[in-house]
């Protein structure tokens, strides 16, 4: 373990990974309970368009992905409200168009290389110091905002009408959740890649929800599962020479399976 921690790149990976994992888990609980679990998948495809725009324009792909993901996420929200489009339909339309646009731009930029590979499959072990601090700053912001507002988020997720009748500005909070989700998906992209980031948002949260008997427990358990998956995933990837992103996601899936089995056993007694 000392050898593991003596490498700077591993320390950076752990640091960024832990903070982003907590952000993903916290938001994942709300997204699952809002029946919006697939939005992570859709936003990841849209973020790919943002990465492609960044590579094409030779600007920081993380930044362009953030801008595109946030704007599109808010656009999807408006479409659902105004045009009466079902949520999953809007996500399917935009995620497909986003991915297609990304492919086109990447081809035009002639960037079918390591850059793109890293964004698709994650490159947490190659994360550079600037990206670490940016990821940590954003992740801490996401976590802080969720913790400060978590009771209101909980109320409007549980009973939106009563929350609105209490004077809670549910529409504004929707915008906040949507923006935080877009930011978190882009952050998660660096850890496990576009193709698996939805799993990092959903699976630890789903695992926590299996055993939690109240909301506070679901938030805490989900965060623990996410952190354990990332830490053990990185350790496993280092020692076994496995891809970090796949190891992290598979571990979280195994923990989900264990919690699911424990829940069923508890019910049987």
């Amino acid at each position: 373990m000392d050898a593991f921690l003596s490498f700077g790149f591993l320390q950076r990976a752990l640091l960024a990974g832990v903070f982003v994992a907590i952000a993903c888990a916290l938001l994942g609980v709300f997204l699952i309970l809002r029946r919006d679990a697939m939005i992570g998948h859709g936003l990841a495809h849209i973020a790919f368009a943002g990465v492609a725009i960044g590579l094409f324009l030779k600007v920081m792909p993380l930044a362009s992905a953030l801008v595109i993901a946030v704007i599109t996420a808010l656009g999807i929200m408006k479409l659902k409200e105004k045009a009466g489009l079902y949520g999953d339909t809007a996500i399917a339309i935009f995620s497909s168009a986003g991915f297609a646009l990304g492919l086109l731009l990447v081809t035009l930029a002639q960037s079918f290389n390591v850059d793109l590979f890293g964004y698709l499959f994650g490159e947490i072990l190659a994360i550079d110091p600037t990206e670490v601090w940016l990821s940590i700053a954003l992740a801490v912001s996401v976590v802080t905002i969720v913790i400060v507002n978590y009771k209101k988020f909980m109320y409007m997720t549980f009973d939106r009408e009563s929350a609105k009748a209490s004077g809670i500005k549910v529409n504004r909070l929707d915008i906040l959740v949507t923006t935080l989700t877009a930011v978190t998906v882009v952050l998660g992209m660096k850890i496990v890649g576009l193709l698996l980031v939805a799993a990092l948002v959903v699976i630890p949260a789903a695992a926590g929800l299996q055993l939690a008997s109240n909301f506070r427990q679901s938030i805490v358990l989900s965060s623990i599962v996410a952190v354990v998956s990332v830490v053990l995933g990185l350790v496993g990837a280092f020692y076994l020479d496995f891809p970090a992103s796949g190891t992290i996601v598979l571990l979280s899936f195994l923990i989900f399976g264990l919690f699911f089995a424990l829940k069923r056993k508890r019910r049987a007694f």
Binding site: L33, K151, M154, F158, S162, N214, F215, Q217
Partner: protein, 255 residues
């Protein structure tokens, strides 16, 4: 019909409110007051606009024309929501698997308080327990809401609505799908809240027979306001006779 002028006792003033969903008129020029101390039943057949009217008063819907005021302020300017409690229509929309405890549900009611009125953790715990005691659910504090029966859940939602000791409580068909004995206990609780805690109660129901022992005023809706006044006079009124003649299910008999 009672005077519609606003006075010191008026908590809610509804003025010429109309509402349509697209081209379908749901409410037409409804005007009436709700006064302090009322235990008001809003009755009418399905589709008469009862729930829509309550949602307009609570600011959940905007009227097509007219306005509603709470405590003298237009609804869209009103901000003292801790003075208003709301129990929505029987929570079939509540996810039974949602991981939330009874305590957490009741605590949600405290979120209508302004930041300057927030309570310490100890005080929060005390007011939550008091609210649950009022509805006889103090033993279920840490139970998951989904593990309770329908009647128990509705009592928890009342506790949530009264945790701030509001001036008014709105309930929308709160006993749909609940057995008769539970309904009686439920309305006894509302009676106590109205008479002992001095909470003004507005209850949407299509079965006046179940609540007639408790209410003191009736508002009868069928898109228009057909009757608003004392309960005793309603049963002698033309509005009541017309509703029966129209075959609307207004009364149910308890055996």
């Amino acid at each position: 019909m009672a005077s519609i002028a606003d006075d010191m006792d008026t908590l809610v003033a509804v003025r010429d409110v109309s509402f349509s969903y697209g081209h379908t008129s749901v409410l037409s020029h409804v005007t009436f007051n709700i006064r302090t101390g009322d235990f008001l039943a809003i009755i009418g057949p399905n589709g008469s606009g009862k729930t829509t009217l309550v949602k307009i008063i609570l600011g959940l819907l905007e009227p097509s024309s007219g306005e509603a005021k709470i405590m003298g302020q237009r609804v869209n300017r009103f901000s003292d929501w801790e003075k208003i409690g709301y129990v929505p229509q029987k929570a079939t929309h509540i996810d039974p698997f949602f991981p939330v405890s009874v305590k957490e549900v009741v605590a949600m009611g405290l979120l209508s308080r302004k930041n300057t009125q927030r309570l310490s953790k100890k005080m929060e715990e005390a007011v939550i327990k008091r609210a649950l005691r009022q509805v006889g659910m103090e033993d279920c504090l840490n139970r998951r809401i989904g593990s309770l029966s329908g009647g128990q859940q509705q009592r928890v939602f009342i506790a949530r609505a009264v945790v701030n000791r509001p001036l008014m409580l709105f309930l929308d068909e709160p006993t749909t799908g609940v057995d008769a004995e539970t309904q009686e206990r439920f309305y006894d609780i509302l009676d106590d809240l109205n008479k002992k805690e001095k909470i003004t109660i507005v209850l949407v129901t299509h079965e006046i027979g179940i609540v007639d022992m408790h209410i003191n005023r009736v508002a009868c809706l069928n898109q228009k306001l057909i009757y608003h006044g004392a309960h005793e006079e309603f049963c002698r009124s033309d509005a009541f006779k017309n509703m029966l003649a129209g075959g609307h299910h207004v009364i149910s008999h308890r055996h």
